[in-house]
Amino acid sequence: MKKQVESILEEIKDLNKNLVFKKKYKTLKIMEVCGTHTMAIAKHGIRQLIPASIDLISGPGCPVCVTPIREIDKIIEIIKKYDATVFTFGDMMRVPGTNSSLLAEKARGKKIKICYSPTDALDFAESNPDKKIIFLAIGFETTIPLTAVIVKRAFEKKLNNFFVYSTHKTLPQALNALLSDSCINIGGFLMPGHVSAITGSSMYEGIPQKYGIACVISGFEPENILLSIHAILRQITGNDFRVEIMYKSVVRPEGNPVAFSLIFDVFEPADSEWRGLGLILGSGLELKKKFEGFDAKKIFPVANPVSCEPPGCRCGDVIKGIIKPFDCKKFGKSCTPENPVGACMVSSEGTCAAYFKYMAGI
């Protein structure tokens, strides 16, 4: 494998040299939009392997990081006001709200449980009919069908103690929003492997032609990431911008139609706020009217909290790829994974956490 990596690196260097020579770019910015890619790139030191004129930047690929602080504040308001048990994925626990976090509330005795699968929340609701259970649903297209399955199941079983608080978001709208922001000059996208496993490649059609950007759906092995970077350089060389799948064992052009259509059986698009990117039209998902009895936002109303981001934290700019974590004054000083200031340091897949873990000495 080492030899393979070496030969592909040679190829990348040659293609890049040619492109710089032909003045196609001085620096090529390639953005990855998947937290798992962010981690893999940092862990395998891919940034250090490739030529310096290829700049790998991280985008809004970590669902926990892009969830705005207001959502955290709201769910905390709900558990303060109502007697309910909240289930969520572990990464959400430490995300700072304006004044508290789910972890801090749990330490104060509030009922908050970490689940591995959304079915854990549903099973708990079924075996505890006297308790109200809220599943705090988070994630992109990879995770949304899972929530859809359990909502449908709750509906079929006529459960009246199970609810979903949806912070689900869909990626393509965010990518379009990001691209219309003129200060970010992206030359290529490493598209997320597991989001695309559900959506297929057609979700991104339009982006390559409209913006002249190479789009390659990548797997997660270092070799596969390098191959995808190579494919991006090849598209630029040939002026042939399109959506290319380099993770064919898992990503089919049509995605997983069963899972994808399930999303829209249960949810409908709604405008949604993203940390760093602001409000993006149609980029969120709320439960359809048929399922409104399961909608925690309707069943447990709370006033809009006054939310504000931690002072000095630049997560918004990190998420947009405008700055690197090193550019934040707090990075590695007052903000570390043990004492995170912002969401990008909390989540194990946040860009600041990935840089801290694998690149702090560089």
Partner: protein
């Protein structure tokens, strides 16, 4: 968050499958991949199989490696074809 791992399906009982991943046995939900069969490899995310791994495609990717990046002589031979193949399905 979108972390998902490969696993092999050992047993199927309605919407639940017993899988093995890295030597660990586990039960997962297979509602999202209704066509899955015993012996298939799947990608598992948060307790659900989200896609069946296409073994042939996995082999093709391996071939891509073999063809273009392991055998240097082979690479020289194929170089031109390889770069020209940019806009068809040849290079995956």
């Amino acid at each position: 968050m979108c972390l998902a791992i490969p696993a092999v399906v050992k047993k199927i009982n309605r919407n639940i499958a017993e899988i093995e991943s890295l030597g660990v046995l586990k039960k997962i939900d297979i509602s999202l991949v209704p066509d899955v069969r015993k012996g298939d490899y799947v990608i598992v995310h948060a307790g659900f199989a989200i896609q069946v791994i296409d073994k042939e495609e996995a082999l093709i990717t391996e071939d891509y490696w073999k063809q273009y990046f392991t055998d240097e002589a082979g690479f020289e031979d194929n170089e031109e074809e390889y770069f020209e193949a940019g806009d068809n399905e040849d290079v995956q």
